[in-house]
Symmetry: C2
Subunit: 368 residues, 2 copies
């Protein structure tokens, strides 16, 4: 764990950019659509701000931004900690669960976004994997069986990366009950909440009141600004103190230009911005899945997020095969085994390009 | 350590802002001078950038920014890790020293910037304080005596906050030798390097080649942008892997708008920008110290940074006394005991206002 592993997506993006032919990049989760207009306006405004505004924001985040979030979430502002993206929010919640509660295991779903797994290892804790079904759904009973007094946290992302599954309110309630029964923290990562394609499929874990619940989120995907690093945790009261301290002594504070621009965008961006992006992605999913059908691929249509995992016969999702697809087909995806050995036969495609139909047609031509 | 302690400076800034009369704010280290012109231009340019540029930068920082820093520092680019301010750089270096080397103690100077002390405690390690002389100077022999096989790191800031002392190349070489002799890391925090008022007083620890040296720095003070959160660590080769991993799994990446603007400012800002700020602060120091003389205060003229510690007879540097100065005199400083019990009689004044002379005159009128 101590050696730096160059993330696979980074390697593949570079590999794709150096390939000879035209390559459609579906590797990473970097949105290709426009951020809100007010976000760019916020940055322009900030560029001319008084020098006072260029100095340390409060460590736990700009007061107005925390207030705006608290208001939308219906929680007390004291419970809102602005973090360096949802990554830091998940980090802090995981560390504090391991320190403040008994247990050295963290339950995560399999397949899983690799940062989750590696982060738990870095913290000298044990990742405890619970397998999802082929369609990405997660059976709370399997989580219940995996949970024990050794469990410090259950950390679940829904809508899910990489499967596109959405775990509804009933599942979240069960996961929270399991966490409570084992004196563990339920960390509900909801960064893809704006990307749900079925009415009512999504429910925030904040619907449930519990001192064993942390909800993490960020504006990275919702506003197409993964590089800005503005996320947050909604903490139970008893965790506010330790989490603020850890954030402060790790990072001092978050980036103020980013927080400033996000605040303006949060205040001024109409709901239609999100509706438009959602409709566009829904349409991309349709087109991509139709072409996957034509290619005879196995896949599950995502109910949320913007990834599709697909399996082509006799073409396992190894790094070598992904590189071959880049060279021979001009489509760059992610190997399934980056997410789990159980998904070693699969490939993940991020729908972050307007050329999804063309990509799927290329795949269909190659595999059929 | 688990309860959040609201930083004293935050409390005092708020106290000062709510005071009835006119208060001159000399509490925090937030520069009041202009950032480089090119920094504002960089932000404006970024606001109109393609959406690609709004997405994740490389986890260890924008390549061009790392190259620019490596070039100026004369080190291999691989050794440069961009961090969320020098705070995160110091955090990572301290954690990795404690993990990778033997020992559970970190040697720091007394008085000390409180984040150092608290960070070591958060990491379940032991802060080992070595007292500075009244003028802020640090005797390497005292550090040698404090060092042992229990020492994992020696973490020193020079030019120093709060004392204004500058430890020259000879002292740094000795500290590095002591670190090497005890298989510990010497963490040389050089964030105030642009603020040295005596020719030749400062020398970067990078003058010395060692696999037990980490140099940390940031643009927060040098470019008057403490809220941007762009710093860096220059790491020995063997620490590059673990440090990148920790940075990635804690923060994913740093803020790209900030890095973008800093890169442009780094490329385009003439040396005269720093000379002008230095001359302005040197002049402020002169005026403030002259008035302190008139007030009969004890102090040492800072050789670097932009803080002055002063002692007034029968007026210990307690929080209560600092609040009384705000109310009765209209000058807000920091209590010395925030930095060390050994400085409980002192007050620290940050020269981040054009009104330093007026502040000193108010103090003189009150105390004489």
């Amino acid at each position: 764990m101590n050696e730096y592993e160059r993330p696979v997506f980074f390697h593949l993006m570079e590999y794709a950019s150096k390939a000879e032919g035209d390559v459609i990049d579906m590797v990473s989760g970097d949105p290709d659509w426009e951020p809100p207009t007010a976000l760019r306006e916020g940055l322009r405004e900030y560029a001319d701000a008084d020098v006072d505004e260029f100095q340390y924001p409060p460590s736990h985040g700009l007061e107005e931004l925390r207030a705006e979030i608290a208001d939308r979430r219906g929680v007390d502002i004291e419970r809102v900690l602005i973090t360096n993206g949802a990554g830091e929010a998940n980090y802090i919640a995981t560390v504090e669960a391991l320190r403040e509660l008994n247990g050295s295991e963290v339950i995560i779903a399999d397949p899983v976004y690799p940062y989750y797994y590696n982060r738990i290892q870095m913290l000298d804790a044990t990742p405890r994997l619970v397998s999802c079904a082929a369609d990405g759904s997660l059976d709370p009973e399997a989580v219940r069986e995996a949970a024990s007094e050794e469990t410090a946290a259950i950390c679940i992302c829904s809508p899910n990366n990489p499967t596109g599954a959405v775990y509804g309110g009933a599942v979240k309630r069960e996961l929270l009950e399991i966490a409570e029964a084992n004196d563990a923290l339920f960390i509900s990562d909801e960064v893809y909440e704006q990307f749900v394609y079925e009415d009512g499929a999504f429910e925030s874990a904040l619907s449930f009141d519990s001192d064993r619940l942390v909800v993490t989120n960020s504006f990275s995907k919702a506003m197409a600004i993964t590089g800005f690093r503005v996320g947050y945790a909604i903490l139970p009261e008893w965790l506010v103190g330790p989490s603020r301290t850890r954030h402060m002594l790790t990072n001092v504070a978050g980036s103020r230009p980013s927080q400033y621009a996000v605040l303006r965008a949060l205040r001024e961006t109409p709901e239609s911005y999100h509706e438009r992006n959602r409709a566009m992605l829904d349409e991309r999913i349709d087109r991509f899945c139709e072409a996957l059908d034509a290619a005879g691929a196995e896949y599950t249509r995502p109910r949320g997020s913007f990834y599709v995992m697909a399996r082509f016969e006799s073409y396992p999702g190894t790094l070598e095969n992904v590189e071959r697809l880049i060279d021979d087909v001009g489509v760059a995806g992610m190997p399934g085994d980056a997410f789990s050995s159980s998904r070693a036969d699969w490939l993940r495609f991020a729908l972050v390009t307007p050329r999804v139909e063309e990509a799927a047609e290329r795949l269909a031509a190659y595999f059929s």
